[in-house]
Symmetry: C2
Subunit: 195 residues, 2 copies
DNA sequence: GCTGCACGGCTAAGCGCTTGCTTAGTGGTA
DNA sequence: TACCACTAAGCAAGCGCTTAGCCGTGCAGC
């Protein structure tokens, strides 16, 4: 019936993101994904090896983007205060704007197979390390003051990640609003000197 | 073979908590639950109406406990600073200690049916209202200072909830450690005067 | 104190359906 | 004619849940 669609593969990925985010990996059937992409169930397997690999693809892409975003924030300045501001703003706004994908990235790790999970965990450790480094750099420089830099760094990421859980597009706040306020919260959490 | 077990019903609930937390509601089969409780698949339906109702039971119990915990923290004092300290300590420590159940409470809402979800959502709104009231009371009293009390209150709950996602029993920190540090973070987030 | 039997917790077996995925083939393009 | 994107049909396995019946227990009648 339909001829070749040049973007069928990515349409399937988009459909999978929508479905996994709404119903979870195990709550989504390959038929859900196919019909959300406007194709027959078999089309999924023309373009992708398995349902799990589709999840891995989404998870990997999402983690890469998040790591890049954190690294860009750090690279934007040599000052820990400015770094934290940049990272937290981008991180929180991203988890609001991209909450659909971010839900999969953060809440469907257990559905990955062992090999894929090991690879994805590496990204997560890298992200945590980057944030920890920003906080400890600020403490060392005397511009931050916190009794437990490691837990504080984890809490900063945790706070940003959880935005993906509660954020709604129809809500009162834009991703930008959230980025702004979370910036203020982050600076307070690390005990940065008041402006 | 086996005789009557007086606690079979609650053993099935415990098994469901373990299974749902580890593999998610849709990733868990009724056979998983039964065998984790040391029973045959049919035993689940002797004591519970359906798999969904088992989830509802766990979710309701968990939400009740969380709401009570927040209310107890507020009732412990008339001072917003002391109230926030009590609530945040209990809330964060609870999400660490009870991370297994808390994961179901916070991440499996979408698997509830419409009627059950409506009931559970009422609990969540009540919890949010309580936290918002503490923050606004502090702002009104002049002991807290934040540019967006509503978002700050949501962030406080969000921070506590996400503990359930990342906390591991084998980690370096006890629930008490987390309660202590999250207290400090919370007071900073609301802009409480330094001690 | 013993027997017979109703009761209720639990299981073996399996029903109808859905799952992830495969196979064989169709139809448009070059 | 060869190719490629895609589908119709369906397979084996696993799903939530039901049914029929077993077995240990407790109690009425003797």
């Amino acid at each position: 019936m339909a001829g070749a669609q040049p973007n069928a593969r990515s349409r399937l990925v988009d459909a999978a993101i929508e479905s996994f985010a709404a119903k979870g990996f195990h709550g989504t059937t390959t038929r859900d994904i196919a019909s959300a992409a406007g194709m027959s169930p078999a089309a999924v397997y023309v373009h992708h090896k398995s349902k799990e690999e589709l999840l891995y693809l989404i998870s990997k892409e999402g983690h890469e983007r998040t790591l890049r975003l954190v690294e860009d924030g750090i690279a934007s300045s040599a000052d820990p205060v400015a770094q934290l501001r940049a990272v937290m703003h981008a991180f929180a706004a991203h988890h609001a704007r991209g909450h659909t994908g971010a839900r999969i990235v953060n809440y469907e790790l257990a559905a990955l197979n062992d090999e894929h999970l090991a690879e994805i965990s590496e990204y997560r450790r890298a992200i945590e390390r980057r944030m920890r480094d920003v906080v400890t750099a600020g403490v060392t420089a005397g511009v931050f003051a916190t009794s437990n830099p490691r837990m504080t760094a984890l809490a900063l990421l945790s706070l940003g990640i959880d935005v993906a859980r509660w954020y709604r597009d129809e809500g009162d706040w834009s991703p930008e609003d959230i980025g702004d306020h979370y910036c203020e919260l982050a600076l307070r959490m690390v005990g940065a000197a008041s402006p």
